[in-house]
């Protein structure tokens, strides 16, 4: 029987980590993910886990420890946010290109400056091209479920890539909500043991990890790495099927909500999807055909699947909780619009930058957006494509 509990997103992630029981956990605390290493330290202190806990002096070192540890053949985890992820930057690429399936809990927070500690996706969006898999979570339940699945996906022999499981700072990380936990023995059986293809501590097979790659080899390695990211799409879905068998909870590359016959839809990531769904329920009750596509997996980007899901919608607003400073819209918008380019139908598409630095987004905002989209659908005119939501004009 599943365990009914109530806990914050941070505790949910820490609980998943405790249940998975990694060999090594290395981290440096940063708001709003600080509680994750804090919880994990207490599990170690209380003897609930015998994982190696490495508390370092910076996030660059945290990721470096993870790389060394995972190379040695140890299942390794970390947690961070915002500038902590930024300080890991150099090492994120090393982890991915050395094909080390480290798992990270990322609690999304705005990047400085101006300094701000609240929810926004500028941290993970900045790392979108680092070669890490990115799985996003609407609430504590999804953060917990995604983290358990991420270990399996990352370590799969056809993938061998690090994965970050993202949730919104404070909104998800600190809000206490109901959750259904899985029994620890089931979690352990689900993730199994980490069996690396090769590891530094295997004396029977001496290896060199991360050697200098000359011009004659580097491109072959990048091509191979790109293939691994592609493979992750298939593996993600296989793992989701197994996870559903265990829990009854269904996961895909994204979630479609009232999208089938929608005339207007929004594309969104993380916690604000909950607010948008409440708006959709109210507007559907009033006979408005509105829906939502919530991206769960941003890396790999489900290009074809998103095109198929959205191409019959008349007007779409893509929501970006980070500013990409391209002067032409946010990163989610750029990729969703790119996905729809291959469609004959090509819906009207606009972009909203919203919720930066924790700015509230309400059902009123979403209603406004849907009304705008329904008008666009009626007029067949997109108007300004690159828009801001909830900023004082």
């Amino acid at each position: 029987m599943a365990i009914r509990e109530r806990m914050s997103g941070n505790e949910a992630i820490a609980t998943a980590m405790k249940q998975i029981h990694p060999d090594v956990f290395a981290a440096f605390p940063i708001t709003p993910s600080t509680e994750i290493p804090q919880y994990f330290s207490s599990y170690v202190a209380n003897g609930e886990v015998d994982s190696g806990l490495v508390l370092v002096e910076s996030e660059h070192s945290a990721m470096s420890v993870c790389i060394g540890s995972q190379s040695a053949g140890a299942r390794t985890m970390t947690a961070t946010s915002s500038c902590g992820l930024a300080l890991m930057w150099e090492m994120l690429y090393v982890a991915a290109s050395n094909r080390l399936p480290i798992t990270m809990a990322l609690v999304n927070r705005a990047l400085s400056g101006p300094i701000n500690i609240n929810a926004d996706h500028s941290d993970s969006m900045g790392a979108r091209d680092s070669g890490w898999l990115q799985i996003y979570s609407e609430n504590n339940q999804e953060a917990y479920d995604n983290f358990i699945q991420a270990v399996r996906i990352a370590e799969h022999p056809e993938v061998q890539l690090p994965a970050m499981v993202c949730q919104d700072g404070f909104i998800t990380s600190h809000a206490i909500e109901n959750i259904e936990l899985i029994e620890t023995e089931k979690v352990r059986a689900f993730v199994g043991d980490y069996e690396p293809a090769a590891s530094l501590l295997n004396a029977a097979e001496p290896i060199a990890i991360g050697p200098y790659d000359t011009v004659n080899y580097y491109m072959e390695h990048k091509r191979q790495q790109a293939e691994a990211v592609k493979n992750a799409t298939v593996v993600l879905l296989q793992v989701a099927v197994e996870f559903e068998k265990m829990t009854g909870r269904k996961y895909g590359l994204f979630e479609s909500y009232q999208l089938e016959d929608a005339e207007a839809a929004i594309v969104i990531i993380n916690s604000a999807a909950g607010t948008a769904k409440a708006t959709i329920d109210a507007m559907r009750a009033a006979g408005k055909k509105v829906g939502l596509l919530k991206i769960r997996v941003f890396r790999p980007f489900p290009m074809n699947e998103i095109r198929q899901a959205l191409e019959n919608v008349g007007a779409i607003a893509v929501m970006d909780r980070s500013e990409g400073f391209s002067a032409a819209g946010g990163p989610v918008f750029a990729e969703v619009r790119s996905a729809l380019y291959a469609s004959e139908k090509r819906p009207h598409l606009i972009n909203y930058i919203y919720g930066l630095g924790g700015r509230d987004v309400t059902t009123g905002h979403f209603e406004e957006i849907f009304e705008t989209l329904l008008k666009i659908e009626e007029d067949k005119q997109s108007g300004e494509v690159y828009r801001y939501l909830g900023v004082r004009e």
Partner: protein, 102 residues
Amino acid sequence: MKTKSGIEINEQIRWKDISPGGTVFSAGSAHHFKTGDWRTMKPVWNPETCKQCLLCVPVCPDTSIPVTSKARQDFDFDHCKGCGICFKVCPFKAIDFVKENK
């Protein structure tokens, strides 16, 4: 140098066959990388003056002073980068340090 499945890593290897992450599955592969042409200065060993004290051997950063039967041999010029540490450390001035003329 080989991949885990035993495929030779050379400039013909395809992306499908190359080791993930560039992992090398054989020890001592640095030997294949010739660094001798980096030299601008060159150590010259004088066997007549050399007392075979072997102080030069452990300080060489490139393991370029081969030892057989407890006696050092001439430099491995395929790998010696000409750093001059051996020349500095030799107590008997049995190593000269001259301009590389290649």
